[in-house]
């Protein structure tokens, strides 16, 4: 079973994000970049399928050269090959252009399943997975917490939480799955894994290699324009509930929740 994992590099969630002077982007200096956590679930699930069925895991990513670090992490975890789509013209691409470039890199590969994170934790769009499935013309399952590939390796059942219940859907392969927290616990890369990673095949592809028109990607090709970025509103100060007895305090708390916070 050959599995492809699409991987995005994002700022570490502990990084303090600052808005750049243009008001439309973030300051990227001093950012610690990591693999999108949802994509890590994809890498882990792909590795588990490889361990069960055999085959290869290929990691495909898009972005500047620094993304190589995250691909290397996936290779150290056990993935077999890495592909980085890197081209200056891709700078500022929206989700649709990203999906188009990923599709161009993936379409000629031999695959049974594709994993993408259900969204990137940086811009929270959640569009790439669905768009990629559309461009590749394969079925797609979103926000999946359990993957069951049939013993014959020809179909997959995917579990999706819906309003406290679970929706189980089945499809033939190939298919695309977007991963949700709870799917698995991603493994750590072992020391032997790290040592082997640098010897694994790694390819860089440009837009020209993929036959894509630079005018249709990047800032100029955006269908979605970012008009403005604003920081979230500052959290108000906490309030200490006064009162002589627990009963008084509870009554005051209930009153504030009702009248000020309006939670009921």
């Amino acid at each position: 079973m050959n599995v492809i994992v699409c991987l995005k590099q994002v700022p570490d969630t502990e990084t303090q994000i600052k808005i750049a002077p243009d008001g439309k982007s973030i300051v990227t200096d001093d950012i610690k970049w990591v693999m999108n956590p949802y994509d890590e679930y994809g890498v882990e699930e792909a590795l588990r399928l490889k361990e069960k069925f055999g085959g290869e895991v290929t990691v495909v990513s898009l972005g500047p050269k620094r993304v190589t670090e995250s691909i290397r992490t996936a290779l150290a975890m056990g993935a077999d090959k890495g592909i980085l789509i890197s081209d200056d013209a891709l700078e500022g691409s929206d989700s649709l252009a990203t999906a188009k470039a990923l599709a161009a890199a993936i379409k000629d590969l031999d695959y049974d399943l594709i994993f993408t994170g259900q969204r990137g934790v940086d811009d929270d769009m959640g569009v790439v997975g669905a768009s990629l499935a559309e461009f590749l013309d394969v079925p797609q399952f979103s926000v999946i917490v359990k993957v069951e590939v049939a013993e014959d390796g020809k179909s997959v059942k995917a579990h999706r939480p819906v309003e406290g219940q679970v929706l189980v859907v089945e499809s033939s392969l190939p298919a695309l799955i977007t991963t949700q927290k709870g799917l698995n616990e991603p493994r750590y890369a072992t020391l032997p894994g790290i040592m082997k990673a640098k010897k694994k095949p790694f390819e860089e592809k440009t837009l020209a290699d993929l036959g894509l028109d630079p005018a249709k990607v990047g800032e100029g090709g955006r269908k979605v324009k970012i008009l403005e970025l604003t920081p979230p509103p500052k959290r108000g100060e906490g309030k200490i509930i006064e009162g002589e007895t627990p009963q008084e305090k509870a009554a005051e708390l209930a009153k504030l929740l009702h009248e000020e916070a309006k939670v009921f």
Binding site: E69, T73, A76, Y188, A189, T190, L191, I194, M195, A197
Partner: protein, 380 residues
């Protein structure tokens, strides 16, 4: 000399950071501080699975045969998270002692099992006067038949309460040169005549024990390496362990610096963050200067153990141990000053770092001892 981290080491550090944050959060550190055993099998197994216990072991015994620099990268992260447990005593003391002094059958017996996490060892070196020189090894081992009988007490033995074997340094001959006449023994801590007790110590994240020997028999094959020639290999082990300890110190000092500076940025007094006040910002800057300087010394010392000659390795280890351990203590003490009253509370984690810093400062030779070593090496 190239002391930049290579791509593999950067990835090792990244994985170690992730592992330590996930598997050894401060809740775990605090629980193990109070716990008599001091670590859980689950966390230990995960470290073993990542290959950490096999890192320095030669490939012939199932290890990865990697450099001390690679291990230093992991130890820095372990020190940052104050990961409790017998990793240091097992990997940097016991395994290195067997690698340095052991015969082929001894290496085969112990190293592969250390690599797979099946066995844990430690080093019993210090005695009641606690010094790190060979002259302080006074506990006697008397030849009886083909073997020896050990009598005396070893103190501050890390993790002996969970060890499957001890490497014990004992005096088998006395002469003019205190470095001569020391023999290393492989001892089963559960054997007759050997008793292990936990010492009440300040740093609960690293357990220290007293090991008492009362007519404890050790057979001839329990002599690690050559009789009477134990100090030379042991001194090489100690040098590497000192550098390993420095890596822990830098990780801890880095964390103390982060704690201090993060607090200085958000704690407001007189309508300003306290980090804008000279007395506070200068203190934060001083911690930064010291930590960065100490890290450079650490990497030099680790490089020197892997690639330098004997003189440079010895010099760098003592320079590093004298400086890095002081920097760690200074960083934690300064962080407590920046934190003010909060820094004195049990709930804040900084006191755990201060305790580890103070324990590390005196372990394997205090700064005064190592300055003396440096003086001897540079000035004769």
């Amino acid at each position: 000399m190239d002391i930049r981290l290579n791509e593999d080491q950067i990835e090792i550090a990244r994985q170690a950071r992730r592992f330590c944050e996930n598997e050894s959060p401060m809740e775990y550190v605090r629980a193990m501080f109070e716990d008599e055993r001091g670590f859980t099998d689950d966390v230990w197994r995960k470290m073993v699975d990542m290959g950490w216990t096999a890192l320095r072991i030669p490939e012939a015994y199932g290890g990865l045969d990697m450099d001390l620099m690679d291990l230093a990268v992991i130890l820095e992260e372990m020190g940052r998270a104050m990961v409790p447990g017998p990793f240091f005593s097992n990997v940097l003391l016991a395994a290195e002692a067997v690698m340095e002094a052991g015969t082929e059958p001894q290496k085969e017996r112990y190293l592969s099992r250390i690599a797979t996490g099946e066995t844990i060892g430690t080093l019993a070196l210090h005695e009641s006067d606690g010094g790190a020189d060979p002259g302080y090894v006074q506990m006697g081992a008397r030849p009886v038949g083909n073997g020896f009988v050990l009598n005396g007490t070893k103190l501050f033995v890390p993790d002996a309460h969970v060890a499957d074997f001890l490497v014990c340094a004992a005096r088998t001959e006395s002469g003019e040169d205190p470095a001569e006449g020391i023999t290393l023994f492989l001892v089963d801590p559960k054997a007759e005549g050997v008793s292990v007790s936990l010492l009440p110590t300040m740093d609960g994240t690293r357990k220290l024990c007293a090991v008492e020997f009362k007519d404890a028999d050790v057979s001839a094959d329990g002599v690690l390496g050559e009789p009477n020639k134990g100090w030379k290999p042991l001194s090489r082990v100690l040098r590497r362990a000192q550098v390993g300890l420095c890596a822990e110190c830098i990780g801890g000092a880095q964390r103390a610096m982060e704690i201090a500076t993060e607090y200085a940025k958000v704690r407001v007094q007189f309508d300003q963050p306290i980090g804008t006040f000279q007395a506070v910002k200068h203190r934060c800057a001083q911690i930064y200067v010291e930590v960065e300087s100490a890290r450079s010394i650490l990497y030099w010392a680790a490089w020197a153990q892997d690639h330098g000659d004997i003189e440079e390795a010895a010099l760098a280890a003592s320079v590093a141990k004298a400086y890095c351990s002081e920097v760690y203590r200074n960083a934690t003490a300064s962080a407590i000053q920046v934190l003010g009253g909060t820094g004195f509370s049990w709930e804040h984690d900084i006191h755990l770092y201060l305790k580890r810093a103070q324990a590390n400062e005196v372990a394997l030779g205090d700064p005064a001892y190592h300055r003396e070593q440096v003086a001897q090496l540079i000035a004769g």
